[in-house]
């Protein structure tokens, strides 16, 4: 856990440093006339300082070796690979939505989620997918009059 806290602290520290420098470059102005970068500069500086405090705090208490004896429970006992696969599918959906159109790309996504990520019976997968797609199409396209992308096939 300690190692994880150190990694996360370093991540937030880097984010803080980036926004502190960028905020300063945007222009922090003066106290009489604050500039557009002031709020970023102040908030990011706070983020950086607190990340450092958090990082320093992780070096106190139990020794790292003692902590390392514990299993890496954050990632070892879970199926994080499933998360990566689903994320990949969702990113692909975002990329192909305008090209393939709503109906086709959504059908492919539902097939992917129901059959590849968590294998489900054909009947359940089919009924759930068709019902959801039709339901969402009726709500957004017909009722709320939101134009969903039609894609190169024209639907």
């Amino acid at each position: 856990m300690k190692k994880h806290q150190q990694v996360s602290s370093i991540f937030w520290m880097l984010v803080g440093v980036y926004f502190t420098i960028s905020g300063y470059r945007l222009g922090i102005g003066s106290l009489h006339k604050p500039g557009p970068g002031l709020i970023f500069f102040l908030a990011a500086l706070l983020l950086t300082i607190l990340s450092i405090i958090n990082l320093v705090g992780t070096f106190r208490g139990k020794s790292v070796a003692e902590e390392d004896k514990k299993k890496d429970s954050l990632w070892s006992s879970v199926r994080w690979q499933k998360v990566v696969i689903v994320l990949g599918g969702l990113l692909a959906y975002a990329c192909f939505l305008n090209i393939l159109g709503f109906l086709l790309s959504t059908s492919l996504l539902m097939f992917f989620l129901y059959k590849v990520v968590e294998p489900t019976g054909w009947l359940v997968a089919g009924v759930s997918s068709i019902t959801t797609i039709l339901f969402s199409y009726l709500i957004f396209e017909v009722w709320l009059k939101v134009s969903l992308p039609v894609g190169f096939l024209g639907f």
């Binding site: 994880h4 806290q5 996360s8 937030w12 984010v15 926004f19 960028s22 945007l26 003066s30 106290l31 009489h32 006339k33 604050p34 557009p36 970068g37 002031l38 709020i39 970023f40 908030a43 990011a44 706070l46 983020l47 607190l50 990340s51 405090i53 958090n54 705090g57 954050l74 879970v78 199926r79 499933k82 998360v83 689903v86 994320l87 969702l90 990113l91 959906y93 975002a94 990329c95 939505l97 305008n98 996504l109 539902m110 989620l113 129901y114 968590e118 489900t120 359940v124 759930s128 997918s129 959801t132 797609i133 969402s136 709500i139 957004f140 709320l144 009059k145 939101v146 134009s147 969903l148």
Partner: protein, 504 residues
């Protein structure tokens, strides 16, 4: 008399067919969400936020508020029947509710929780009606320094109450302010951190932000676990109406829970979770038979369930009258109103009285609807509990994707939602809380504007925050709050509050 007149006009508003439908759909979805473990009210509200964009402000507010207090009702069902709280505020109901179910008293537990919630919800609406106009008239004297100090106080209180590490909660709030201020500068017009993406000129949208942080991340957290079948307590649910003895045991806990929940709901960072925990502790403390708690005491269900519903009404007060949401759910409602061009604040009740009183009236009606929904449809909710998560998660994801796309008909919002989804997932794993980030994100622009305007007003002097009474009061409380963190006794007490992740 004026209040009653306004309330009647509110009923006229809510009785319009669209609003009536929105109220019903809201409480129905809310109950459904409350029943379904794996998605909370915040996640559900964020997913449905885009669907309300085409509706009028009052209709969308009625719908979203319905989801919120509907989920409070529905959450108790899973706590009692499966020992899994549907949402965080129902955690404490598991203690006695599940024990009652094991003793064959599931019906009574569900019944008293529905009646208690109804009574508390109604009482809290009375409180809202009486207190909100008072606070709004006071807030008319507020200028930028007052708002700045109140935002500081609100954020600090939320962080303080948010549990977990206070440093990490502050880190999240700082990052929330950064993300909330991305986009065009309102004073100079210069673009800030838009990276050449025109969609970011108006800032990061609230919907993709919260949908990612709460909706997508919640799905990710669930699918990384083995999706096993939930075992539901197999008992015939009968006798939903509490008997005379049940009422005798429960009426005082219900009334105490209502008052306690209402006032704790007003406090930033308080809300439903804290109210239910406090009510349980109070009931146990003053009970003549504290040993019965945890073994199926009906008071242990009636008090907390009333408190968490009452907190809902209380939480509306600072949001509607000051424009400062006390918790993340209210922050979402505030965001929804702002999307519609309605800014809650001291003038809200005067300028948008129909929205305010329409909402209050819808809560009355929603409470009646919930009573009708929860008791006779208990069998349906139990069936819903049996739906496997592997069927549900693709549907949740699809609604998130379509919802994000429909805001601006742009895939940029989907990408943003996924980025925040991954961030939210990692934050949950590494124990960083999302609530301070969302509240800071929503208040970010207001925070920046009030700070800059105050500094311009005072010619660059920070003393302006200490020379005006209300601003000084807010800042003093903020500083005291921060200092209290270094006092060991108070720090210990704070640590006793369970983490949001542990609660759910």
């Amino acid at each position: 008399m004026d209040v009653i007149h306004q309330l009647i006009s509110g009923f006229y508003v809510v009785c319009e067919p669209t609003n009536l439908l929105a109220c019903f759909v809201g409480v129905f979805i809310g109950t459904l969400i409350g029943v379904l473990p794996g998605i909370g009210p915040v996640g559900a509200m964020s997913i449905l936020l885009p669907a309300t964009l085409k509706a009028s402000p009052i209709t969308s507010l009625i719908l979203l508020a319905g989801i919120y207090y509907g989920a409070m009702y529905g959450g108790s069902t899973t706590s009692i029947l499966v020992n899994i709280p549907g949402e965080a505020a129902s955690v404490v109901t598991c203690l006695d509710g599940y024990q009652m179910a094991r003793q064959g008293r599931a019906g009574r537990a569900l019944g008293i929780s529905a009646f208690g919630s109804f009574i508390a919800g109604t009482l809290s609406i009375f409180g809202l009606m009486l207190l909100a106009p008072l606070l709004a008239s006071m807030a008319l004297q507020f200028g930028p320094p007052e708002y700045f100090s109140l935002i500081c106080l609100g954020l600090t209180l939320l962080i303080y109450m948010a549990s977990g590490s206070i440093i990490r909660a502050f880190m999240m709030a700082a990052f929330g302010i950064i993300t909330g201020c991305i986009g065009q500068d309102p004073h100079t017009g210069s673009s800030r951190f838009v990276f050449g993406i025109p969609d970011l000129l108006d800032g990061i949208g609230l919907a993709p932000f919260v949908m990612g942080l709460f909706g997508i991340s919640e799905v990710f957290m669930n699918i990384e676990q083995q999706l096993t079948k939930r075992s539901i307590f197999n008992t015939k649910i009968k006798g939903l109406l509490p008997d005379r003895q049940d009422w005798k045991d429960s009426i005082m806990p219900i009334l105490r829970g209502s008052v306690l929940g209402f006032f704790l709901g007003i406090l930033p960072g308080g809300g439903a979770v804290l109210s239910s925990f406090t009510s349980y502790a109070v009931e146990k403390k003053i009970s003549k038979h504290p040993e019965k708690f945890g073994k199926g005491a009906i008071e242990g269900v009636a008090g907390p369930e009333s408190a968490n519903n009452s907190a809902t009404g209380g939480a509306f007060i600072p949001m509607l009258t000051l424009g400062i949401p006390p918790n993340v759910t209210m922050a979402l409602l505030l965001g929804a109103l702002m999307i519609h061009g309605v800014t809650p604040g001291p003038l809200f009740m005067r300028d948008h009285s129909q929205v305010f009183w329409g909402l209050v009236s819808s809560m009355y009606l929603g409470n009646v609807m919930l009573l009708v929904l929860n008791l006779p449809l208990i069998g349906l909710w139990v069936k819903v509990l049996k739906i496997p998560y592997k069927i549900l998660f693709p549907l949740i994801l699809l609604f998130c994707l379509i919802g994000a796309y429909t805001i601006n008909n742009s895939t940029v919002d989907i990408i943003l939602m996924l980025i925040f989804g991954v961030l939210g997932y990692l934050m949950r794993k590494y124990k960083f809380e999302g609530s301070p980030m969302v509240l800071a994100f929503i208040l970010g622009r207001m925070f920046e504007n009030s700070l800059r305007q105050s500094l311009i007003m005072s010619d660059g002097s920070f003393l302006i925050f200490f020379t005006r009474p209300i601003a000084a009061g807010g800042m003093t409380l903020t500083i005291l709050m921060l200092l209290s963190h270094v006092i060991p006794a108070l720090r210990k007490k704070r640590k006793a509050i369970p983490l949001e992740e542990e609660r759910t």
